[in-house]
Amino acid sequence: MKTLAELQALRDDMKAQVGVRREGQYRMRVVVGMATCGIAAGARPVLAACTEELEKRKLTDVIVAQTGCIGICQYEPVVEVFDADGSKTTYVHVTPDKVPKIFAQHIVNGSPVVEYTIGANAK
């Protein structure tokens, strides 16, 4: 059984590390649409996959957040990536298996995955 004692140990471990992230210092923001339209289309496992990438790659300067209906329900699940300079990339029809590529190519290496963007998929 997982207990709170383990959380205490984890916290002590983290406190001992230098360079703990402070609010508002995120290099990038990854936002997943989590309204009825998004959830029904499969946004929940997409958000979970994004957080798994954060954990796996130990990305402390990237935040994965959620938002409501973005207004393009037919393209859900939708993931928006906001770069440090404020530019936004909108990924559409995202599935958990597309997430690792978005993280490897865009979040880590700064080059958007063009074929997953709304521009490449708009009809």
Binding site: M1, K2, L4, E6, L7, Q8, L10, R11, M14, K15, V20, R21, V32, M34, A35, T36, C37, I39, A40, R44, P45, L47, A48, T51, L54, E55, K58, L59, T60, I63, V64, A65, Q66, G68, C69, I70, G71, C73
Partner: protein
């Protein structure tokens, strides 16, 4: 339509987020002896006016501005009623909202509960400044996750820190396994 009840739960709990709640309590109570599952979602958000409360199960009513339909509550109500259960809502402006849905476990039309842990995980991770109390009861055993007790231990470390996220994921999955094995 949602494929899992846990997706309905996520959808309805998102309303609590939008209502500005600081605390959301989600309980899944499965009692096979009584052939009954009860799901309750309560929050301390802004609540609804009596007029809103009357319209909330109408799919053509919504407070959002991007679309003129709101399917969250109607979907959840339908999922409960299909099994012979029901959905009740009570709400007071400035106090909060309570939604209680009951399901007949033996009904062939009962949607699977699905990945409830992922629902809870996504809610916590996506709303690190809110508190969630999740209770999963099965017969006489239960799992409780209360982010307030996590927060007391963590101090200024946020609940969406990757290492804390991993812990929450493992906490839910490991303790659920034990809950199911206890049966």
């Amino acid at each position: 339509m949602m494929q899992e009840l846990s997706m309905n739960i996520l959808d309805v709990a998102e309303n609590s987020v939008r209502a500005g709640a600081s605390l959301v309590e989600i309980t899944v109570d499965r009692q096979p002896v009584n052939d009954l599952m009860t799901i309750t979602i309560s929050d301390n958000g802004c609540g609804m006016s009596p007029e809103q409360l009357k319209k909330v199960s109408d799919p053509f009513y919504t407070t959002r501005t991007t679309r003129s339909v709101g399917l969250g509550i109607p979907f959840f109500r339908m999922a409960a009623e299909l099994t012979g259960g029901k959905l009740e809502i009570s709400s007071t402006q400035g106090v909060g909202t309570l939604i209680k849905a009951s399901f007949v476990l033996s009904s062939i039309d009962l949607m699977p509960l699905g990945n409830i842990n992922e629902t809870i995980f996504v809610l916590i991770h996506g709303n690190p400044d809110m508190d969630f109390v999740f209770t999963h009861r099965l017969g006489g055993s239960e799992l409780v996750l209360d982010t307030r007790s996590f927060r007391r231990i963590l101090g200024d470390i946020p609940l969406n820190d990757p290492k804390v996220s991993s812990f929450i994921r493992e906490f839910l999955d490991e303790n659920t396994r034990e809950l199911l094995q206890a049966q």
